[in-house]
Symmetry: C2
Subunit: 309 residues, 2 copies
DNA sequence: GCTTTATATAGATTTTTATCTATATAAGGG
DNA sequence: CCCTTATATAGATAAAAATCTATATAAAGC
């Protein structure tokens, strides 16, 4: 019986295979791993030789994994998972709070998450953070890969295989240019507000989703003049008088409301919440559990105190 | 982040660790792996360095695994299991009947199992066989490790987590020295038989277990003069006139009855059966399934045809 | 058609892994 | 006490693994 790795390759080769599978290309994987493309190509060749069968075929610019390749990818994942679990168990035994916390957050959460993380890291300086930002739809897609500890949404998808931890209010408030005629009025009729030129986030964003639902329930339709793919761009458009909008208070916190006025409109703010979502199928690491404990114990209070506008 | 195997060692080192754990010693493992003892010692040292903690301590001549060591053993097993599963899936995909069939059989089964295996291997020459022999008690102990595809018993333990496949009759017959006064008699009274000097297998053996139970049910007690730990030794003792005994027909098959006579005793032979037992918790490999199919389809008939005495 | 993107192969080099022989040290058993 | 059993360490060597630079070939895109 041949030595084990003569039959299945080395751990390094399996690592490289997973990177190629993930990136979808040899060149992409080489960049991600800081290697040259020929290194990756050669390692994959050796792995295929060890296994005894081609792992993928090249179709023009695309790599098409063979069934064998997919099975080897699966096993490589299992092995990496076993190793990851070992490291967690060892860390547990050592009472170490070290490792990587992986978060994927919707765009609007990027305004407060770094502050929350900063405070968390003061307590646990050994923890690394891997922090990805995307709109709601992108984060939902990313969840399918299951590589993150938590996903931060204000409107999590309806899933039975998700753990949801509500952790913070996320009020969506009406804003206008500072000095706007409506800015000095109280209890502005909603219809007056939505008749203004209205700026809204792109389809797929949680903020747009919440606004559309709220307006639908109230039976009003905003006078949309511009769809904008960034909270910052919306703020600047409002500041320059292009229209009014509704944004999360979080985008306005930490000094983010200069040049803007909050409008007092009936039926607003839209009351939403922030959730930490995690996959039930994913065993939480110590780091993940530590973060969750921290958020519930003190991170929440700290973030709320920054929401006054 | 350091390269994977810098944190957990190489697959080879994990293989070696498992051998040390299994053999209980560095020297034992080196023999099992056909390596020198210092090689094994060095590889374990490197593995402990990769993991960052001692894996075992030496207490005089004994190795005591640390908790960390046990966790690494566990992960090594998971990894080997994943690799084993991959190989089975690949073999499945290739329609290959190759791999290793692992059997652990009680002593008496060693008389026919090699013949059965020989015929099986003519059909599937790519299959390797790993074949262990022990008495009933030893095989039951071995089952706790769950490393074998099948365990061959005539009296399997009563377990809910076992699959049992009855596959062959195992008649236990009375024997005496060729030319013995009783050898020409028909329908010998049982009491006459058990009054002869009686030779019996050692406690823990399936044959002894079956005989004791049968005699208990019939309310007789054999005149035991010798306990012998081997079927062959019993046969030779009987041949030289030291007494009579009861042994499985299988020990007498394939030319194994020269110098012996079978006695026609009332209430004998004891009718027992051979079982292939497998653990429900263990996913059967293709090879295991193939063997089971073979046994049920033709191996059984072949073995029965050799039982005429 | 030309340029860009993408993988494979060749050749070379460095580093690492795996293993051996020789020896030292310690513990257990008679 | 001496011999045997057992692991660790030192030093050396060969093989394998990992990686790079250079180049060839093919397909896609403009």
């Amino acid at each position: 019986m041949a030595r084990l790795h003569a039959r299945i390759g080395t751990l390094r080769q399996l690592e490289i295979l997973l990177a190629v599978y993930k990136e979808g290309s040899v060149t992409g994987a080489s960049k991600a791993l800081f290697l040259t493309q020929p290194t990756v190509s050669m390692q994959l060749k050796k792995l295929a030789e060890a296994v005894g069968t081609p792992l993928y075929e090249q179709l023009g610019r695309k790599l098409i994994f063979t069934q064998t390749g997919l099975e080897v990818v699966r096993t490589a994942r299992e092995i990496m998972e076993s190793i990851g679990q070992l490291e967690m168990r060892l860390a547990d035994m050592q009472g170490l709070k070290a490792g990587t916390l992986r978060l994927a957050v919707v765009t609007t959460a990027k305004y407060f998450i770094p502050h929350l993380l900063g405070e968390f890291l003061q307590h646990y300086p050994q923890i690394d953070i891997d922090f990805k930002v995307g709109n709601r739809e992108q984060i939902i897609d990313r969840m399918a890969e299951g590589e993150d500890d938590f996903y931060v949404f204000s409107h999590p998808p309806r899933h039975n295989d998700l753990n949801l931890h509500e952790f913070l209010p996320n009020p969506l408030v009406a804003i206008a240019q500072q000095g706007h005629p409506l800015s000095s009025e109280r209890n502005i009729p909603l219809q007056t507000f939505v008749d203004q030129p209205f700026l809204i986030r792109e389809p797929g964003s949680g903020t747009r989703y919440a606004i559309e639902r709220h307006f639908e329930q109230l039976g009003v339709e905003p006078n949309v003049r511009m769809t904008v793919e960034s909270n910052e761009a919306i703020k600047h458009a409002v500041m320059s008088g292009l229209g009014v909008s509704i944004l999360s208070s979080h985008t306005l916190a930490f000094g983010g409301s200069s040049g803007l006025a909050r409008l007092d409109v009936e039926h607003l703010p839209v009351t939403t919440r922030w959730y930490l979502a995690s996959l039930k199928a994913r065993q939480p690491s110590i780091v993940a559990r530590t973060f969750l404990d921290y958020v519930e114990a003190c991170g929440r209070q700290s973030m709320i105190s920054h929401l006054d506008l």
